[in-house]
Protein backbone atom coordinates (compact mmCIF):
# COMPACT_ATOMS: atom_id res chain seq x y z
CA UNK A 1 0.00 0.00 0.00
CA UNK A 2 1.53 3.30 -1.08
CA UNK A 3 0.51 6.39 0.83
CA UNK A 4 1.26 9.96 -0.22
CA UNK A 5 1.03 12.84 2.24
CA UNK A 6 0.94 16.32 0.73
CA UNK A 7 2.59 18.78 3.09
CA UNK A 8 3.20 22.50 2.80
CA UNK A 9 6.35 24.19 4.01
CA UNK A 10 5.31 27.40 5.72
CA UNK A 11 7.10 30.04 7.81
CA UNK A 12 7.19 29.09 11.50
CA UNK A 13 4.12 30.90 12.81
CA UNK A 14 5.65 31.26 16.28
CA UNK A 15 8.49 33.34 14.90
CA UNK A 16 6.62 35.80 12.68
CA UNK A 17 6.59 39.37 13.91
CA UNK A 18 4.04 41.95 12.84
CA UNK A 19 5.30 45.41 11.85
CA UNK A 20 2.89 48.09 10.59
CA UNK A 21 0.18 45.42 10.47
CA UNK A 22 2.26 43.42 7.98
CA UNK A 23 3.95 40.09 8.74
CA UNK A 24 7.76 40.21 8.71
CA UNK A 25 8.95 36.96 7.15
CA UNK A 26 12.69 37.68 6.96
CA UNK A 27 14.85 35.04 8.63
CA UNK A 28 11.81 33.04 9.68
CA UNK A 29 12.63 29.34 9.29
CA UNK A 30 10.30 27.06 7.32
CA UNK A 31 8.41 24.28 8.98
CA UNK A 32 5.35 22.20 8.18
CA UNK A 33 1.80 23.22 9.03
CA UNK A 34 0.42 21.64 12.20
CA UNK A 35 -2.47 19.89 10.46
CA UNK A 36 -0.03 18.58 7.85
CA UNK A 37 1.84 16.92 10.70
CA UNK A 38 -1.43 15.24 11.74
CA UNK A 39 -1.85 14.01 8.16
CA UNK A 40 1.71 12.63 8.20
CA UNK A 41 1.06 10.87 11.51
CA UNK A 42 -2.13 9.35 10.09
CA UNK A 43 -0.14 8.17 7.08
CA UNK A 44 2.57 6.70 9.30
CA UNK A 45 -0.03 4.77 11.32
CA UNK A 46 -1.73 3.40 8.19
CA UNK A 47 1.64 2.36 6.83
CA UNK A 48 2.59 0.58 10.05
CA UNK A 49 -0.66 -1.36 9.80
CA UNK A 50 -0.51 -2.34 6.16
CA UNK A 51 3.13 -1.96 5.10
CA UNK A 52 4.21 -0.20 1.94
CA UNK A 53 5.76 3.15 1.23
CA UNK A 54 4.99 6.51 2.80
CA UNK A 55 5.96 9.37 0.51
CA UNK A 56 5.81 13.07 1.34
CA UNK A 57 5.13 15.45 -1.53
CA UNK A 58 5.70 19.16 -1.14
CA UNK A 59 5.68 22.16 -3.47
CA UNK A 60 7.72 25.26 -2.79
CA UNK A 61 8.39 28.54 -4.53
Amino acid sequence: MNIVVAMKQIPDLQQIRIRNRKPVLDDVPLTFGNIDKNALEAGARCKEETGGQLIVVSVGS
Binding site: I3, K8, L40, E41, A42, G43, C46, I55, V59
Partner: protein, 184 residues
Protein backbone atom coordinates in the same frame (compact mmCIF):
# COMPACT_ATOMS: atom_id res chain seq x y z
CA UNK B 1 11.66 17.91 4.53
CA UNK B 2 13.92 16.12 6.98
CA UNK B 3 11.36 16.74 9.67
CA UNK B 4 8.81 14.63 7.77
CA UNK B 5 11.32 11.87 7.04
CA UNK B 6 12.20 11.70 10.74
CA UNK B 7 8.52 11.49 11.68
CA UNK B 8 7.90 8.34 9.66
CA UNK B 9 8.02 9.06 5.91
CA UNK B 10 10.19 6.79 3.72
CA UNK B 11 10.73 9.20 0.87
CA UNK B 12 10.32 12.91 0.22
CA UNK B 13 9.59 14.59 -3.09
CA UNK B 14 9.92 18.35 -3.36
CA UNK B 15 8.88 20.26 -6.45
CA UNK B 16 10.56 23.65 -6.62
CA UNK B 17 8.65 26.32 -8.53
CA UNK B 18 11.03 29.12 -9.37
CA UNK B 19 9.86 32.50 -10.54
CA UNK B 20 6.54 32.24 -8.73
CA UNK B 21 5.98 34.60 -5.82
CA UNK B 22 2.95 33.02 -4.33
CA UNK B 23 1.47 29.68 -5.16
CA UNK B 24 -2.27 29.87 -5.28
CA UNK B 25 -4.26 26.76 -4.40
CA UNK B 26 -5.13 25.81 -7.98
CA UNK B 27 -1.47 25.84 -9.02
CA UNK B 28 -0.25 23.99 -5.91
CA UNK B 29 -2.89 21.34 -6.57
CA UNK B 30 -1.84 21.02 -10.21
CA UNK B 31 1.81 20.51 -9.25
CA UNK B 32 0.99 18.08 -6.43
CA UNK B 33 -1.30 16.05 -8.70
CA UNK B 34 1.43 15.85 -11.34
CA UNK B 35 4.04 14.84 -8.74
CA UNK B 36 1.70 12.09 -7.54
CA UNK B 37 1.18 10.82 -11.10
CA UNK B 38 4.94 10.74 -11.39
CA UNK B 39 5.21 8.40 -8.38
CA UNK B 40 3.10 5.74 -10.05
CA UNK B 41 0.83 3.50 -8.02
CA UNK B 42 -0.58 5.39 -5.05
CA UNK B 43 -3.42 4.01 -2.89
CA UNK B 44 -4.10 6.76 -0.39
CA UNK B 45 -3.43 10.49 -0.55
CA UNK B 46 -3.60 12.41 2.73
CA UNK B 47 -3.70 16.17 3.19
CA UNK B 48 -4.38 18.47 6.09
CA UNK B 49 -7.80 20.15 5.93
CA UNK B 50 -6.01 23.41 5.18
CA UNK B 51 -2.48 24.78 5.23
CA UNK B 52 -1.05 26.59 8.23
CA UNK B 53 -0.58 29.85 6.36
CA UNK B 54 -3.30 30.44 3.76
CA UNK B 55 -5.82 27.86 4.96
CA UNK B 56 -7.73 27.91 1.69
CA UNK B 57 -8.75 24.24 2.27
CA UNK B 58 -8.87 23.73 -1.49
CA UNK B 59 -5.83 21.67 -2.38
CA UNK B 60 -7.10 18.25 -1.22
CA UNK B 61 -10.32 18.55 -3.21
CA UNK B 62 -8.56 19.99 -6.24
CA UNK B 63 -5.96 17.18 -6.29
CA UNK B 64 -8.77 14.60 -6.09
CA UNK B 65 -10.52 16.25 -9.01
CA UNK B 66 -7.36 16.42 -11.13
CA UNK B 67 -6.60 12.76 -10.46
CA UNK B 68 -10.25 11.79 -10.83
CA UNK B 69 -10.33 10.13 -7.42
CA UNK B 70 -12.99 10.03 -4.69
CA UNK B 71 -12.38 12.44 -1.82
CA UNK B 72 -13.44 12.68 1.82
CA UNK B 73 -12.86 15.89 3.73
CA UNK B 74 -12.30 16.59 7.44
CA UNK B 75 -11.57 13.04 8.61
CA UNK B 76 -11.23 12.47 12.35
CA UNK B 77 -10.49 8.75 12.06
CA UNK B 78 -9.03 6.63 9.25
CA UNK B 79 -9.08 2.85 9.12
CA UNK B 80 -7.76 0.81 6.22
CA UNK B 81 -9.93 -2.18 5.34
CA UNK B 82 -8.44 -4.18 2.51
CA UNK B 83 -8.98 -2.24 -0.68
CA UNK B 84 -11.13 0.44 0.91
CA UNK B 85 -10.82 2.91 3.75
CA UNK B 86 -13.28 3.61 6.56
CA UNK B 87 -13.33 7.33 7.31
CA UNK B 88 -15.12 8.99 10.23
CA UNK B 89 -16.04 12.64 9.88
CA UNK B 90 -17.00 14.54 13.03
CA UNK B 91 -19.72 16.92 11.99
CA UNK B 92 -21.43 19.54 14.08
CA UNK B 93 -24.06 17.31 15.63
CA UNK B 94 -23.29 13.83 14.32
CA UNK B 95 -20.57 11.51 13.14
CA UNK B 96 -20.55 10.34 9.57
CA UNK B 97 -18.75 7.10 8.68
CA UNK B 98 -17.94 6.55 5.03
CA UNK B 99 -16.43 3.62 3.23
CA UNK B 100 -14.36 4.72 0.27
CA UNK B 101 -12.75 2.54 -2.35
CA UNK B 102 -9.02 3.08 -2.75
CA UNK B 103 -7.30 4.93 -4.31
CA UNK B 104 -8.79 8.00 -2.65
CA UNK B 105 -7.91 11.42 -1.26
CA UNK B 106 -8.63 12.11 2.42
CA UNK B 107 -8.14 15.43 4.19
CA UNK B 108 -7.79 15.29 7.96
CA UNK B 109 -8.60 17.55 10.92
CA UNK B 110 -6.12 18.42 13.65
CA UNK B 111 -7.63 16.33 16.44
CA UNK B 112 -7.35 13.02 14.60
CA UNK B 113 -4.10 12.15 16.35
CA UNK B 114 -1.06 13.42 18.22
CA UNK B 115 1.93 13.65 15.89
CA UNK B 116 4.92 11.70 17.19
CA UNK B 117 8.14 13.37 18.29
CA UNK B 118 10.96 11.64 16.39
CA UNK B 119 13.82 10.13 18.38
CA UNK B 120 17.44 11.16 17.81
CA UNK B 121 18.10 7.92 15.87
CA UNK B 122 15.11 8.61 13.63
CA UNK B 123 16.36 12.14 12.98
CA UNK B 124 19.82 10.82 12.08
CA UNK B 125 18.34 8.12 9.85
CA UNK B 126 16.18 10.72 8.08
CA UNK B 127 19.30 12.21 6.48
CA UNK B 128 19.92 8.96 4.60
CA UNK B 129 16.36 8.50 3.32
CA UNK B 130 15.75 9.25 -0.37
CA UNK B 131 14.95 12.85 -1.20
CA UNK B 132 13.94 13.84 -4.68
CA UNK B 133 14.03 17.48 -5.69
CA UNK B 134 12.35 18.30 -8.98
CA UNK B 135 11.54 21.39 -10.95
CA UNK B 136 8.26 22.07 -12.70
CA UNK B 137 10.04 21.35 -16.00
CA UNK B 138 11.00 17.87 -14.77
CA UNK B 139 7.29 17.16 -14.52
CA UNK B 140 6.72 18.51 -18.04
CA UNK B 141 4.34 21.01 -16.59
CA UNK B 142 3.60 24.52 -17.66
CA UNK B 143 2.14 26.64 -14.88
CA UNK B 144 -0.88 28.74 -15.80
CA UNK B 145 -1.13 32.40 -14.87
CA UNK B 146 -2.39 32.96 -11.33
CA UNK B 147 -6.11 33.64 -11.31
CA UNK B 148 -6.18 35.34 -7.94
CA UNK B 149 -4.16 38.21 -6.58
CA UNK B 150 -3.57 38.96 -2.91
CA UNK B 151 -4.54 42.61 -2.61
CA UNK B 152 -3.51 43.03 1.00
CA UNK B 153 -2.53 40.92 3.96
CA UNK B 154 -2.84 42.88 7.19
CA UNK B 155 -3.06 41.94 10.82
CA UNK B 156 -6.29 43.10 12.48
CA UNK B 157 -6.00 46.39 14.31
CA UNK B 158 -6.15 45.98 18.05
CA UNK B 159 -7.23 48.89 20.19
CA UNK B 160 -5.22 49.44 23.32
CA UNK B 161 -7.34 49.10 26.42
CA UNK B 162 -5.78 52.10 28.18
CA UNK B 163 -6.33 50.79 31.67
CA UNK B 164 -4.47 52.90 34.21
CA UNK B 165 -3.11 51.30 37.38
CA UNK B 166 -1.60 52.97 40.41
CA UNK B 167 0.31 50.04 41.93
CA UNK B 168 1.27 46.43 41.46
CA UNK B 169 -1.81 45.14 43.27
CA UNK B 170 -4.07 46.97 40.85
CA UNK B 171 -2.05 45.67 37.90
CA UNK B 172 -2.48 42.10 39.16
CA UNK B 173 -6.21 42.69 39.54
CA UNK B 174 -6.49 44.11 36.01
CA UNK B 175 -4.54 41.20 34.52
CA UNK B 176 -6.68 38.70 36.41
CA UNK B 177 -9.82 40.38 35.13
CA UNK B 178 -8.51 39.90 31.58
CA UNK B 179 -7.78 36.23 32.31
CA UNK B 180 -4.08 36.78 31.67
CA UNK B 181 -2.95 35.84 35.16
CA UNK B 182 -3.74 33.30 37.83
CA UNK B 183 -5.47 30.85 35.52
CA UNK B 184 -6.06 27.23 36.47
Amino acid sequence: MKEALAAGADEAHLVVCTGVDTLESSISALVIAEAIKNIGKVDLILCGEGSGDNYSSQVGSRVAELLNLPQVGYASEIKIQGDSVLVTRSLEDCEEVLEVKLPAVVTVVADLNQPRIPSVTQILKAGRKPKKIMSVDDLNLELPEAGTETVSNLAPEVQRKRIKVKDAAELVKALQAEGLMGRG
